[in-house]
Amino acid sequence: MSDATYANQTAYLRTTPAPAEPPPALAQGPVAWARQNLFSGPVSALLTLASIAFLVWVIPGLVRFLITDAVWHADSGEVCRANQGGACWPFIWAKASFFWYGPYPESQHWRVDLVEVVGAALIVWLLWQGAPKRNVAALLFFVAFPILSFVLLRGSDWLGLPVVTTDLWGGVLVTLLVSLVGIVFSLPLGVLLALGRRSKLPIVNAICTGFIEIVRGVPFIIVLFMANFMLPLFLPEGWTPDRLLRPLVGTALFAAAYMAEVVRGGMQAMPKGQYEGAASVGLGYWQTMRLIILPQALALVIPGIVSNFISLFKDTTLVAIVGIFDFLRTIETAYNDPNWTSPTTSATGLITAAAFYWVFCFGMSRYSQGVERRLRAGRRH
């Protein structure tokens, strides 16, 4: 209806139906895409050009260092010493087993392999959203797997497996172990601390708040030192906790304090109506938390939780400070080997370490995005 017709009509009745029309022609194709996304205005065009220039400047250097100018095959550091401009990959091949197992006795490496394969399989089963019987996977992973791992890795004369004490554990094995224990314990501990901090019972509240604030207010290194030196003091006379166990406890407690605050944030966001809906059908406190509040609150803060996991994974490099031989420490030890000294050995080692940490962290990040997408799709509100 045009303005003219509108102006002299006070009553109107539609006599013919308005037909559905297709939307105005959409711009399509690569040129249209580029115009819309890369050159939509002078600022965006300038940014696009600057980014291209930056990539042109950086990428060739990286390609040269990592690939074209790198040494790929050599039996010792000689070739690398002669080659100043590229990575020294033979160093990585030669030390790969040391990176993976640390000083774990070579004849017993199969025990580590077995634990890692079983662990990886269980994790895939557990995290794969469409997998059947994931509760069985959970049971195996959280109960059977830790026992199996401990028995296999440490060994026992009674089973005919030579004992390998924890000071011989190292490399990727230890990094994964510390991270996994940290991740597995920090979430439930964090949830309990968050519940405690929101509790109306004054003593529970004070203990949880105090714990969270103290741990969060202290550098991780100090927590590790305290776990190392103070844990034995809390245990009965004659009990010395294993030297690997101490930083494990420290890591889990440290991560739990951060986790608690993330979880509490999610619980804070739950509307009061959810508690009231639960109460009105007769659910008790623990049932309300477990069935109503936590599933929603945790889903809401998945990005924060995974952020914490990622930080935790990288922070495990700090356990080296209390004498634990983690992956980064094996890299450091290896590039100080005089056989392999060359101008680029340490850089090669550190790039390898960076790639290792990145792959795991990126994997966690992507997985969490997938979970979020699934949750959003399922609920649609």
Binding site: Q274, G277, A279, V281, G282, L283, Q287, L291
Partner: protein
């Protein structure tokens, strides 16, 4: 003025057993409540017989929600006695659980659990509170979902339903616990106009089946149709109480007349 006066008694005279205590589903006697220094409920006295339907109205902020929420202990009263189905509400957690199992409640904003399907919303409490096997719980849930006429939505999530459908799910969820008493706190005021009727129809059919109901609402047509008594609250007090006929045609208190004048036109 004692609200639970002779008038009420004459209104219930048809029932011979009205005077024995066990006949009351809900009894509030001299109930007071404060929020900090704010006196929100002042000497509230109300007795609701089994099977009786009470409609509660009054201006916003007069304490209607607070009163009805005291009955299932979502709010705690500080003075007086509340006896629900023969159980006196005290700080004893077991008694609170006992009362909540017998009392269903529907809220203005439904308060469904958005992470669970409609069916799971309905079976959750029977399974975890009544310890019912999942199969039986689902059977009962489907029965009530059919009664509120949305069995086909059972596997959707609350966010995918309209407001009217969500409120009907909320009613079904309460019914699955087989409550003796149902509380409604403005169940239709958050709904679009065209959905009010479907919810009211559900409530009417519930009333016709003999459920004891306390219902905060300003749907006066509903009050006329099903209420045994209409309670008018203002400033934390019960100001007037009467049969719907008398209440609407012959309001006796000045404040009631003022209120009815505001909402009936």
């Amino acid at each position: 003025m004692k609200p639970d006066g002779t008038l009420t008694m004459s209104a219930v005279a048809a029932s011979p057993a009205a005077r024995t205590g066990s006949d009351y589903a809900v009894e509030l006697a001299g109930v007071h409540k404060w929020y900090g220094a704010f006196h929100v409920l002042r000497d509230v006295n109300l007795r609701v017989r089994k099977g009786e339907k009470i409609v509660i109205c009054g201006p916003s902020g007069s304490g209607k929600s607070t009163m009805i929420r005291c009955i299932n202990r979502l709010e705690e009263h500080q003075k007086g006695n509340i006896v629900v189905n023969g159980t006196e509400l005290t700080n004893d957690l077991r008694r609170i659980d006992e009362v909540r199992r017998e009392v269903g409640m529907c809220f203005q904003h439904f308060n469904l659990f958005p992470h669970l399907t409609i069916l799971e919303n309905c079976t959750l409490a029977p399974i975890w509170v009544r310890k019912m096997p999942k199969k039986d719980a689902e059977e009962i849930a489907m029965k009530y979902l059919t009664r509120v006429r949305i069995p086909e939505q059972a596997n959707k999530y609350p966010g995918q339903l309209s407001g009217g459908q969500q409120q009907r799910v909320a009613i079904a969820r309460s019914l699955c616990m087989n409550p003796k008493i149902m509380l409604f706190d403005e169940p239709t005021s958050a709904l679009d106009p065209e959905m009010v009727k479907e919810v009211l129809d559900t409530m009417v059919s519930l009333a016709n089946e003999g459920m004891t109901m306390l219902c905060v609402t300003h749907e006066m047509g509903f009050a006329r149709q099903v209420a045994d008594r209409v309670v008018f609250m203002d400033a934390g007090e019960i100001v007037e109480m009467n049969t719907p006929d008398q209440f609407f045609s012959n309001p006796r208190h000045e404040r009631t007349r003022l209120f009815l004048g505001q909402i009936l036109h």
